[in-house]
Amino acid sequence: MIGMRLLFLQRVIMSALLLLWVGLLHHQVVEGAYYRQKADKNRIRLVPLPASRGAVVDRHGIPLVEDQMSFELAVFPQEVDSPSLLWRQLAPIVERSTEELARAYRRGYQAPFAPVTLVHNLPPATAFLLEEKKSELPGTLVRPIPKRRYLLGASLGPVMGYLGLISEKELTRLKPYGYTIRDYVGKDGLEQMYDPYLRGHSGGLQVEVDHRGRMVRQMGYLPPQRGRQVRVSLDGRLQQFCHQLLAEQKGAIIIMEPRSGEILALVSAPTFDPNAFLDFSRRQEVRNYLRSRERPMFNRAIRSAVPPGSTFKVAVASEALQEGKITGGTHFECGGEFKLGRSVFRCWWDPGHGPQDVIRALEHSCNVFFYNTGRRLGPEGIGHAAESFGFGQKTKIDLPREGIGFIPNPSWMKTAHQQPWQEGDTLSFAIGQSALTATPIQILQLFTAIAMEGRIPQPHLVLEIEGERKGKAYEVRQLEFKKEVLERVKAGMERVVSSDSGTGRLAQLPGIPAAGKTGTAQSGKGQSHAWFAGYSPPRDPKVSFVVFLEHGGRGGAEAALLVRDMLVYLHELGYV
């Protein structure tokens, strides 16, 4: 019996051991890989090393934006024995209070092995001093950090955009492309549009840490990869000049090479300084940018949809000539007003222009001529003109958030305003009023099309990305016109500037011929918008341009004077 009992005991004991062994087999062999991964996760940490962002240079290779090395003071938490003592030692050297240092440390602390930045933008002298005193200040580290600088400051604001910490929404979208929560990304302008090229690839240090997160040794190093350099078509000098030209005035100027669509200058005012977004001490300035009712963040050149006013007459004239609604010989008598039933529509020139053909009508910007022409075309004809010149659509310039404007039509009038389209609507439509709106870049596109015999290149800023030319990537559209159509329209536009009775005669310059069209658009309350769009020289144009002054007066006055100065500078630079 005892033997049986011992055998029973033996079975219990051995079965328990066998069960344990099966448990080990499962835990170590079957689940081994899983636990191996967990063990690695336990001990391996990544310290990201930021890559410097690609520079942006102008058409001549002169840098507009670049990452410069700036010094910052950081500390290794695991090597600091007494933080409060260290703050007291550092405070006088870096000219910060001990509280500021302590706050920066608390805010930046991630792990014992990860350096915490205490002071950004150290003056070089301080950086060297700290480097010398390193042995007395254990755990401190002065390191060069790439810092983005917008060399032309505010003049490039809306074109370049600015950098900011990635938002939650952007992160969900961009995570698959390797973006992380600590990344700065382009928030507008070229910085946003070309962010994937500019940003480069962050490197990293792989470190092994112990249970308290202190670095034991360095395991791997992946050097950060600089972002790619982007060459844009802008001319830095011209850009700055145009920026100064607008000065306190709200508005936009765009200058383009009409054959290629390369933008030489694109400014919007008021503007903002992108450097402010990267400087913690300028956060109040940034807050003002974001809150200001003047909307400095708003790129008027490509987003502002406003009535084009008389500049639109160029499109109406071309369409009417092309469709045979008028010919070169068609005359309309301008008595200063146009009667339609019981309503009276005025020309801007009360005494009246007398008999006008299309060339004269453009020269004088005669409303009565275009009322008549508009009636012949009808709202559909005018709408077609607008559409074929690219109104109501994006020009596809390589900048984010481009506006599209609006082309009215009778059926829209019925739905939106519950009233039929009136004859009077057609008249205001024909002179670029009514509900018609367009962005400055769309107006520029219209004038480029005329200047280039119907050829519409896609406007663009980026020429090449680190040696890789982008030229072929841009589209060109061709509008077909009868030969005499463009001859007459261009003749009219040339007279706008060259004739002493032209509305744009203030832009007249000896030796620098230009063609164009002024516009003075009524827009709600306040002063009218002033437009001047055109190209130079009239034969074989080298530049096309648009000047838009938001509530800035008259196209023939304020805008024309700006164009005049601009032409002088363009001549100086050799563009015309």
Binding site: L9, Q28, E208
Partner: protein
């Protein structure tokens, strides 16, 4: 005293297994405590070697003297040990919230470890002298229960749930081999299991939380569950072959607390892999097999009971300790025989081996 003939009949496999387990224990302790030794100037390895040598010496004494002598003194030893346990509660050293140690001279000893031996001794003496196996055995069950219950209550008060619970399988195994009716035994086991929820109410908060965390270590991965989580990762990440001696990242980077004592087996698993753990388990299985063989061969009921009691208590430690490192058992603080660092514990294990061998050399050799 021992005759030459008897000495030649000593169970060599048991000797070999014990030496092998002690050797493995020292090697892995070296890897587990090397850093601590450097930082604090305390060499766990050297201390453990001293304890092992002392234990071996005691084992030699135990083998050479007839174990019946010890049985004669069983009640006295048991009584003294109980006094020590009471002393622990009165003026013991508190470590980690528990009062388990007595300071004697420069040494701290854990009387609860020795109670495992003296209780086995007293139970063997008591049950061995109860020759009436024809009865139902209720009386003997009651008597054994009292003898085992006293140290259990004293140890529970320290508090030390693990050690206290290890008396249960020992007593049951001894009753089984003594010859208690199976019906009675099953009834006791069944009632015990049914009483678990009642006992739950008697547990201290930390003991309950340990049991809760045992059921789900992720309840508290940084607190009570931390050790289990890290231990599971350590063992599991060892895979087939392990990361190599001194190559365990969980070990060397300090992710595993208490790794030189209760969690030494995690390091075996991490650095020597499934192969290493299998070797250890096989050695334990062989040890218990040899012990049971000796128990079968001896004709002395006292000797048989003694072996069964001591072996069961070692076995229980192996099962609970290894199960605990894998998260299969609650963390109750039972060390692993021969591998875990600890003076009292190492001595206890070697005394057990000494007694087993002592019975072994005196068994009839002609069978």
């Amino acid at each position: 005293m021992l005759t030459w003939r008897q000495l030649r009949g000593i169970d060599r496999p048991t000797l070999f297994i014990t030496a092998a387990l002690l050797g493995i224990g020292l090697l892995i302790l070296y890897s587990a405590s090397f850093q601590k030794a450097q930082q604090m100037g305390v060499s766990y390895l050297h201390r453990q070697m001293v304890w092992a040598a002392m234990g071996a010496l005691i084992a030699v004494v135990l083998v050479s003297i007839d174990y019946h002598r010890w049985l004669e003194w069983a009640y006295v030893a048991y009584g003294l040990n109980m006094l020590l346990l009471i002393l622990v509660l009165e003026l013991g050293v508190v470590r980690g919230g528990a009062q388990r140690w007595l300071s004697v001279g420069g040494l701290t000893i854990q009387p609860s470890e020795f109670a495992k031996i003296t209780t086995a001794l007293v139970l063997a003496r008591y049950l061995g002298s109860q020759r009436d196996t024809a009865g139902s055995g209720w009386k003997q069950l009651f008597g054994a229960g009292l003898l085992a219950g006293l140290p259990m209550v004293l140890i529970l008060k320290e508090p030390n749930l693990g050690t206290a619970s290890s008396f249960i399988p020992m007593t049951l195994a001894m009753l089984l081999v003594w010859g208690i009716r199976m019906k009675v035994l099953w009834l006791v086991v069944g009632t015990g299991i049914a009483l678990v929820p009642v006992l739950w109410n008697f547990l201290a908060d930390y003991q309950r939380s340990r049991l809760m965390v045992f059921l789900n270590p992720n309840l508290d991965p940084l607190g009570a569950g931390y050790t289990v989580v890290q231990s599971k990762v350590a063992i599991g990440s060892g895979g087939w072959w392990g990361k190599g001696w001194f190559g365990g990242t969980q070990n060397q980077l300090n992710f595993l607390p208490e790794r030189h004592t209760d969690f030494i087996f995690s390091i075996v698993g991490e650095e020597w892999g499934f192969v290493g753990t299998t070797v250890c388990l096989a050695l334990f299985a062989a040890l218990f097999y040899r012990a049971l063989l000796i128990a079968t061969q001896t004709r002395d009921p006292f000797g048989r009971l003694l072996i069964v009691g001591l072996m069961t208590i070692l076995w229980f430690h192996v099962i609970v300790n290894i199960g605990m490192t894998m998260g299969l058992m609650p963390v109750v603080g039972l060390p692993l025989p021969f591998l875990s660092y600890g003076g009292s514990w190492t001595l206890t294990c070697l005394v057990a081996i000494g007694v087993i061998l002592s019975v072994g050399v005196r068994r009839p050799l002609y069978s």
